[in-house]
Symmetry: C2
Subunit: 209 residues, 2 copies
DNA sequence: GACTGTGAAGCCATTCACAGCT
DNA sequence: AGCTGTGAATGGCTTCACAGTC
């Protein structure tokens, strides 16, 4: 199967499969079937096979997949065979938590800079990085070859920060602010909207339950 | 149009529309068209109308929607015309940040209890709530009539915590741990997987860019 | 016998396009 | 003339089912 446009849902599942495979590696399991992966992560086995088929043939008919080998393939596909430098804008509670989040570090995302406008936050140490003023954004992005920007500022400041990230040449933004950000076509923006997520629960409780 | 099963994507957008309408209220804007909402939140106007059509006819042909009225309808649909009591399990960086997250409070989600197993965290104050040991989970859920559980514990502890929440009668769980949680059919689980989100960016940078 | 890889079918969400109302 | 509400068309993801391989 030739890959042209990969569904986003597929990419998200690949990330989940890869974590599950990591778990299997820890458990010293050598081989796994699409059905076992499916059960492990809560999807159908056909789904697992279709997702993998976008990128090649990784398994052996009648046998399954070699765990370590498939894990390696997935990490490569996801671009996790390298590290990525991350800048976080907004050193409030959420930004600070993300700066210290092990789940990023474990997968090769290195928080290289954390910026804020608040004088009280500037100078604060978060692991190895010190919170710096917003003005150094462009310098830090160039200097540390930063690939990914994380926006954890209040809604009112989000677009300004985005414009600055775009101006600095950032091509991927993870947005935690509750605002729809405008950015050029070639900049990928992903929204992690915490309020939306809890409101879906609220809807389901109110509407069905 | 009769509502039976509402697409989850629709519910998420309603949440976003409602926030945009709130913004319009602040700006004293009285009337809005589906096209203006669409532009404001980055979807198509047909999408906006279809989403609303699941729940009724809220507009006036030739005119548009009354901002406050539509806002009221959406808040009611989303179950946000009431408050919800929330318990957070895991008082690490992320759990603490969520406990203090204004975006929840603003929309009527009240963090009523925060629990952890770590002695060093128990007793810590987060706004009005004090971190308590995991053992009081069932008591607090009953006592405060808690509707929603938020899981911010490490992967290894996530299923145990989920089992406890289910046992306590919780029907909605927001899961921040990188594990697929097993829960009964009637319990709604939503995953906010921070690593998956940043890995989708990594994939796009590596695969296309 | 077991399990992958994949075309075909099925299903669901989005977009189109226009009738209907103000 | 302008904008909503909606049936029909489209497009895309998921599931089915089975041929192919070990």
């Amino acid at each position: 199967m030739k890959a042209y446009k990969i569904p986003e849902a597929t990419v998200m599942r690949l990330s989940i499969y890869s974590r599950y495979l990591h778990q299997l590696i820890d458990e010293r399991i050598m081989t796994v079937s699409s059905d076992e992966i499916a059960k492990g992560v809560g999807v159908s086995s056909a789904q697992v096979r279709k997702d993998l088929a976008y990128f090649g043939e990784f398994g052996t008919r009648g046998v399954g997949y070699k765990v370590e080998e498939l894990y390696g393939h997935l990490m490569k596909i996801l671009g996790l065979n390298q590290t990525w430098n991350v800048i976080i804008i907004g050193a409030g509670k959420l930004g600070s938590a993300l700066a210290l989040y092990q789940g990023f570090t474990d997968r090769g995302f290195i928080v290289t800079a954390v910026l804020d406008i608040d004088k009280d936050r500037i100078g604060k140490k978060l692991n190895k990085v010190t919170v710096e003023p917003l003005e150094v954004l462009k310098d830090r992005v160039k200097e540390h070859n930063i690939n990914i920007g994380v926006v954890t500022v209040p809604a009112a400041a989000a677009q300004d920060v985005t414009d600055r990230l775009v101006d600095a040449g950032i091509k991927a933004i993870l947005n935690f602010s509750p605002r729809v950000l405008k950015a050029p076509q070639d900049v990928i923006v992903r929204n992690v909207d915490l309020a939306v997520n809890i409101e879906v629960l609220s809807f389901n409780l109110a509407f069905n339950g």
